[in-house]
Amino acid sequence: MVVELYEQYVPVIPFIIIGVLIPAGGMILAWLMRVKNPYPEKLTTYECGEEPIGQAQMQFDVQYYIYALLFVVFDVETVFLYPWAVVFPDIGILAVIEMIIFIAMLVVALIYAWKKGILEWMPLTWREMVIREGGRAR
């Protein structure tokens, strides 16, 4: 009997169900068992005793975006490593050379980004911070 490919993925189903049940079950159980006595003090955002200022969904520094972009590039590179790893025993040394060229090209990209100072964190000046908070710089 031919085993269809998707049948190999049947074990994934209980895995997903358990993965959903653990957090959901934990929250439902806690909701059933806990004492419900909310008062204003208790409903404040937990911030180590400090009153939080502003919204949690603030605007983050755009500098993080370059890390996201770098991540995407190297993520796509990883995609090509999968089929490479599978066929590598049958193609041998040629595949190794091909992959070294491929990775070398991306190492060039990484060195370029590094040399351009992209990986350095640029702290905001005081003026920029004031503007970001919605105030006016002096």
Binding site: Q59, Q63, Y82, W84, M105
Partner: protein, 168 residues
Amino acid sequence: MRKVAGDIIAFYVLAFLAIAASIMVMEAQDIFHGALYLALVFASVAGLFILLTAEFLAAIQILVYAGAVLVLILFAIVFTRRDRKGEEVSRGHMIAGVLLVAGLVALLLQPLLRVPWPASLIEPSGPNTYSVGLSLFTDYVIPFEIVSLALLAALIGAVYLSKREVGS
């Protein structure tokens, strides 16, 4: 008989998840939640790829779309200002959106209408990650190496753009 039922049930569950999550992407009050629903859409589509025995495509779907593209979208959301929430959509935008969607639907209907239904199944020639790898590293080596150049160009472009952002 049992086998057939199994994959049909899986298809309907995944298709339902994909469609329901797509609707939630648009209906979510918070755009950040919308982006998280998009992750569910990507994951369900990956499941559909597995049902089509396109295992490698499913892995890419998870890795690149649910992983990288979604991270980009989430990052883009947290980097933009949130105080423009609840802005009215202008009539011009509405018309442009309708036209765009109509065009996309027309484009997608083309292949759907050309296929004689029910479509015949194409049997995969072997384990498909292996087949992809084999043709990628023997017949299509040059395109494969060009991909690395494209990635290099993408990265240099990103560096160039963000550099100007920081410098200004």
